[in-house]
Amino acid sequence: MLDIAVSYDRYKFLGNEFLTWLWFMIENDQTLFTKIDIECTALEMGDKISFENNKKESLEVVSIKGDHAGWEEGKLSLQKGSVVTQLNLLYHSGPGKWRFSLKGESLGIANLKTPEGGRVETKEDIEGAILEKIFLLDKAISFIQALFSRFLRLRISPQWETDSIPMIRNWINSTK
């Protein structure tokens, strides 16, 4: 295995590409999410996307925020060579809704809000509350891990070059 610090920097592009692919899949093929989680009813863009563009003279960081934001500006940013560095997502599964931010370079999960669990009223309730919360967190974490594994297998396959890149390029360029 490579040195941790070296491998973090060397492969952070992979996490950013994962987020770009995820955004593309959200807009173009929701069936993927049901294949991974049969209870998943939708994966949606949340209220924030962050980009970085290091093709310019100095590193440019752009964030787009808003609950009902149109993401066209984001695609324009991709057209200029930016990469997605962070996505806020809404994951619907069964009757529940999870909201979280996913960072590309670290795959770190921030501000993860799960559906509400039962109330903790007595000391005895704590153990149940912990197990319930672990179950709810695990649902989102396992979903992300499965999505990344799916992306990774596509990314190392010939289909990435022949199918995925042309489709993602068309999607990026569909905004003028």
Partner: protein
């Protein structure tokens, strides 16, 4: 932002190595040996150690079990004292003036100044209260993973170092490379392809 907070940040870890000896007893001993030590009324500026999930301000693994179902649940506590630079400068200047007056000299040597600075800093650290940070940990030993409830680099480094010191096991942070290498079940040929990946140019 702890496990039961409405909003959490999670860093995932792979813990692939196994403990020498019975799991629960070895973990209990590791937690106790590196449990959090208070630094109130002492001159240390920082203390890091394990504490219990339920009672983070009273580290005691006998009163409160760390086993919840298949999980081990505990927390890292990091207390820090920060002396404001202006406060240090004020007390240092007063001390230097006193020393000059007492000795009748016009200046002090570098060594004397350093000793005064260290003495002032130690006295202030004893008087300044420590600010605690608590980060919860979930460890699923059977499935070889842990979750650490912070995304802050410094907190993650404290956890990794404390974990290694306590259990002689490496907690490996899962980011794109380690997630692919350790947690995606790649075959040898898939791993070879993965190692050769280069960034995609999405712009024509």
């Amino acid at each position: 932002m702890g496990l039961l907070s409405s909003s959490v940040s999670v860093t995932r870890y792979a813990i692939q190595e196994k403990l020498d000896g019975p799991v629960i007893e070895t973990v209990y001993n590791g937690l106790c040996k590196q449990s959090f030590k208070e630094i109130e009324n002492r001159s240390e500026s920082k203390s890091t150690g394990w504490t219990s999930f339920e009672k983070p301000f009273k580290a005691n693994f006998e009163d409160s079990s760390f086993l919840v179902g298949a999980y081990m649940v505990f927390a890292v506590r990091v207390d820090k004292k920060t002396v404001p630079p202006k406060l240090l400068k004020k007390h240092y200047s007063l001390e230097v003036e006193k020393k000059l007056a007492d000795t009748g000299r016009e200046r002090l040597s570098i060594n004397e100044k350093e000793m005064i600075r260290d003495g002032v800093l130690n006295r202030l650290l004893i008087r300044i209260p420590a600010v605690p940070d608590i980060y919860d940990v979930i460890w699923n030993y059977e499935e070889s993973y842990a979750w650490f409830f912070s995304g802050t680099k410094s907190a993650n480094e404290e956890f990794e170092s404390l974990f290694l010191k306590s259990f002689k096991l490496s907690a490996i942070r899962l980011f794109p490379y380690t997630q692919a290498d350790l947690a995606s079940n790649l075959t040898d040929s898939e791993r070879d392809l993965f190692q050769k990946l280069q960034p995609t140019n999405f712009v024509d």
